[in-house]
Symmetry: C2
Subunit: 151 residues, 2 copies
């Protein structure tokens, strides 16, 4: 997959990225720093929760999902950051040993009216586990350079 500019994306295109296995250690470490709730931190307490065992913080799932796309290099030349995310949903728990891969679908491309060198690509991220179940999804608005800006 080559580096893309705004103009290079087509609505409906889907990128499928490699997997990442969530270990107990990484789940607990992330939770200690960013989401210290018993069902993310404490195996015994998590067993007594509605989840019946330790689950990953939802912030960890989406951060990993995003990272898998960023590290693909597809946006390496064009990314200028992001104004925000819409409709973030956590749909199923992520447990130690689960492997997620990321799918990214191009939802909409909006060249800027005021700045001809850039625009917004709305990309729908899905985190999908080894049972083909979507565990999280969100639409991220990427501010991207247009190809003209590169010349």
């Amino acid at each position: 997959m080559l580096s893309r500019y705004l103009d290079d994306f087509k609505v409906g295109e889907v990128f499928r990225l490699g997997g990442y296995t969530f270990t107990e250690g990484e789940i607990i470490d992330f939770a200690l720093r960013f989401d210290p709730q018993p069902f993310h931190l404490d195996v015994a307490a998590a067993g007594d929760s509605i989840y019946g065992g330790l689950i990953a913080s939802g912030f960890q799932s989406i951060a990993i999902c995003f990272r898998m796309f960023i590290q693909s290099g597809i946006l390496a030349q064009s990314s200028m950051g992001s104004p925000g995310i819409d409709d973030l949903r956590w749909l199923a728990p992520v447990r130690p040993g689960d492997t997620l891969h990321t799918e990214v679908e191009v939802v909409e491309i909006k060249p800027s009216r005021s700045k001809p060198d850039r625009g917004i690509a709305r990309l729908r991220y899905s985190a999908i586990n080894q049972h083909d179940e979507t565990v999280a999804r969100f639409v991220l608005n990427h501010l991207l350079k247009r190809r003209a800006a590169a010349t």
Copy 2:
């Protein structure tokens, strides 16, 4: 601030949490793990970007913002997780040396119709810097136990 159940929150209430100073080291460390883009990782490249210098990953800002509320203990007895986030907006860059504090406003309380022991609290998180500028905000849907579930 004592631990609260769903029934204990009132729409319009605001909780103001303590501050967190973003250091260059933490910004780069977070970016390396979760958001490896030049303007989060590389001081020289960031200087040449539209931001004119290193900025924190937006995922770091929201994770820290969330953590400040969780560590207050307000949800310690009641939190059952979250189905998702609405309307996440990154409004201004966060730079090394910036201090953010978190404000959390109660937007809506919705007891479950099918499960009398729980419900959803919609809480609007704002990350506010030392110049009183809101740099990020989002509405998180918290699944919380009702007080009846504790007895």
